[in-house]
């Protein structure tokens, strides 16, 4: 049987769709996983004044701030993807990551310039799903409580527990039509997109500092949900950057060529995701 449990976090809806034999235990497992999502929201939220990230942004220019293991790991992923994408992925508002000093020994983070702030919107959902996958592993839930499951955040970040699952990538201009389908087994998928018709793009091109004004979709598959999320954001900005194989197993970028058709502009690895 399949049990669905949902909760709002990170300004979107997270849902667990879990398969197994015991409905009661599946529901409890779903709540446990969503508790982890909530906890990550409380760590990574840019907007919530009670979050750890908010406190970091507020105080790290004044003095080094010691952060939790999870926040430090998220920042480390950001730094790694930022470097590997030549800056296409940039979580820092108003500047690059060169003003962020991180000490792995003490987990202290300091901003060397004023008016620097970090927004983890490009990796937040993926980080939450990464924490969920760690919880599933820690508690050995797969194969005991769960047979398989899909957890998604806002339908753009997906974690597959076991599988295979076939995930459809929507054509945003033609309701009901799919650009492609992706098969996932114990992997994460992230989709990032920009649409020129949107009143305000949510992805800013670090090179120009302006919202991107193009119709583009990037699809990334990785064993880690946080890396998938970060690279999907990076590839929307720079579609021809090649993610390291250690980060990403497959990816594809589509550009809209007219009002409804899409063309793949960046190779996957191999040339398709399915």
């Amino acid at each position: 049987m399949t049990v669905r449990v949902a909760r709002r976090a990170m300004a979107t809806r997270f849902e667990c769709s879990l398969d197994g034999a015991d409905e009661v235990r599946l529901c409890a497992a779903g709540e446990m996983l969503l508790d982890e999502v909530t906890r990550m929201h409380q760590t990574l939220s840019f907007f919530d004044p009670r979050s750890e990230l908010y406190n970091l942004n507020r105080n790290a220019f004044k003095a080094p701030v010691q952060v939790s293991v999870e926040l430090f790991e998220a920042l480390s992923i950001c730094r790694d993807v930022h470097e590997a994408s030549s800056g296409a992925f940039n979580p820092v508002l108003t500047s690059g990551m060169q003003h962020i000093v991180m000490d792995p020994g003490s987990r202290a983070v300091q901003f060397e310039a004023e008016y620097v702030a970090i927004d983890l919107g490009g990796i937040g959902k993926g980080s939450a799903l990464r924490a969920v996958s760690q919880l599933v592993d820690d508690h050995a839930l797969l194969g005991t409580v769960l047979d398989s499951g899909l957890i998604h955040g806002g339908t753009s970040s997906v974690l597959a527990l076991s599988g295979p699952f076939r995930i459809g990538i929507d054509n945003p201009h033609v309701p009901g039509q799919l650009l492609d389908t992706v098969q996932l087994t114990d992997e994460a998928l992230a989709v990032s997109s920009v649409m020129s018709q949107a009143p305000y793009g949510h992805i800013v091109d670090p090179a120009s500092g302006r919202p991107m004004e193009i119709d583009r979709i990037a699809v990334v598959v990785s064993t880690r949900a946080d890396l998938a999320d970060a690279w999907a954001t990076a590839l929307v900005v720079s579609p021809h950057v090649r993610p390291p194989m250690a980060h990403v197993s497959r990816w594809m970028v589509f550009d809209c060529v007219n009002t409804r058709d899409w063309k793949q502009i960046a190779p996957g690895h191999p040339n398709e995701l399915s």
Binding site: V24, R25, A28, E31, R50, R58, K62, P64, V69, H139
Partner: protein, 429 residues
């Protein structure tokens, strides 16, 4: 022979100038109910001084133990030295979240460690007694989660052990008596701002099954102690104790009876602990307050309402508002106070330090970026007691025991769908 921790604590009680000044400012802050000034909790700007850093161990790394550990990490005065849990998976989680803290499966390891001064006990309620008593015997300062125990006898045993442990801090895990916003509201109420108290209402709503899972069925049964009527005090006891204690504190007096109702309305999974409860609590001077809690509906989450002849005060999250009666006397400061509309009512925002915030040009009702959780303030009070005390904790063994008695009696009332009286003998330590 006294363990080193107790001797060191007593030796530290000789006055220094810095000690005197800090006691003065702290006592003043507490008396005035002002928000105790604090630097942003995550900004250690200089190395911690060993003399003022309390070496701490958390016993029990479940949901609440993890919250305590995270809060201790944020406190400059605390050093999270060790984490105890007898379940290997929790120790693995502890290693990932707090890699610098030692990990133990047996709590005796931290009790035998003279380098650890304080222990924070967050194991299931019915397991507190043995650990608390052993910790006090080992000379540790103890923070014990509320309710203290699931039986009055066990709670009394804990309270007696705490009473006998002279020179050691014992603080119960009641959270709101040390929370700055609540302390500020306490001042309003005790000064008569609401007039004659007429009634109160508190609720706690969250849609959640309360059930836990594990790959191990045996471990799963242990994890689900809250769903076992023989071990659990249910929603009223495990959760409601916090808000019932707030009512007792704000209005003064001890509850004389609880009339309870409860049933499994939705989570029909074989549990025998109600997922929805309602209770009427009787207080001195014919005052009755209401409490309801549900795991079925999350509507409106948690709040406390105190109704009076001149005004009603609501406390929710870390904010409070006063809604005045039309014929209530004018309070001089309210002309300048921030007011917020709630449907047809207008609430005067009550904020600790509101005047100061206004003078700084900050919006008193905006989300406070330095806001901390009630748990943080409770643990800070513990640390302040260690460093600047000793003084009788705001939540001492007597208050913690009294709150536990009400929790136990209320849980009984709800199980039996009846009224249960609470006597002075029940409250006696």
């Amino acid at each position: 022979m006294l363990p080193d921790t107790r001797t060191n604590y007593l030796d530290r009680m000789s006055f220094t100038r810095r000690h005197f000044l800090k006691i003065g400012s702290l006592a003043g802050a507490l008396a005035a109910g002002e928000r105790i000034p604090t630097a942003a909790p995550w900004t250690p700007t200089e190395p911690r001084h060993d003399l003022d850093t309390v070496s701490c161990a958390v016993i029990g790394f479940g949901d609440w133990g993890r919250e305590i550990a995270a809060a201790l990490d944020r406190l400059e005065e605390a050093r999270l030295t060790a984490i105890v849990d007898h379940f290997p998976i929790m120790l693995r989680r502890a290693q990932r979240a707090h890699p610098d803290a030692a990990r133990h499966a047996d709590y005796r390891a931290v009790l035998n460690d003279p380098g650890i001064q304080a222990v924070f006990i967050a194991t299931p309620t019915h397991t507190h007694k043995q650990i608390v008593i052993h910790a006090l015997e080992a000379g540790k300062h103890v923070y014990c989660e509320a309710p203290l125990a699931h039986t009055i006898d066990d709670s009394r045993a804990i309270a007696r052990a705490a009473r006998a442990a002279k020179g050691q801090i014992f603080q119960g895990g009641l959270l709101y008596r040390t929370e700055p916003q609540y302390r500020s509201v306490y001042g309003f109420i005790r000064s008569g701002a609401i007039g004659q108290p007429a009634m109160g209402r508190s609720q706690w709503h969250m849609k959640d099954s309360w059930r836990r899972v594990s790959a191990s069925r045996e471990r799963e049964q242990e994890l689900n102690w809250r769903l076992d009527a023989d071990l659990s005090l249910g929603l009223f006891g495990e959760v409601g104790i916090q808000q019932i204690d707030t009512t007792a504190w704000m209005l003064g007096g001890r509850a004389s009876s609880v009339t309870g109702f409860g049933a499994v309305m939705f989570w029909k999974d074989g549990r025998n602990v109600a997922d929805t409860v309602q209770a009427l609590i009787s207080w001195p001077n014919d005052l009755t307050t209401m409490y309801d809690a549900s795991l079925v509906s999350g509507f409106d989450a948690m709040y406390d309402l105190l109704f009076g002849s001149d005004a009603t005060i609501i406390l929710r999250d870390n904010k409070a508002w006063m809604f005045k009666e039309v014929d209530a006397p004018m309070l001089g400061w309210e002309v300048y106070a921030r007011k917020d509309k709630f449907y047809k009512e207008t609430g005067i925002a009550l904020l600790a330090n509101a005047t100061k915030l206004d003078a700084l040009g900050e919006d008193p009702t905006a989300e406070d970026p330095n806001a901390e959780t009630p748990l943080y303030w409770a643990l800070k009070a513990f640390m302040d007691n260690y460093n600047y005390g000793p003084f009788d904790p705001v939540v001492n063994f007597e208050r913690a025991h009294e709150a536990t008695v009400v929790a136990i009696k209320g849980a009984e009332a709800i199980r039996r769908n009846t009224r249960v009286d609470i006597t002075d003998e029940d409250y006696a330590v």
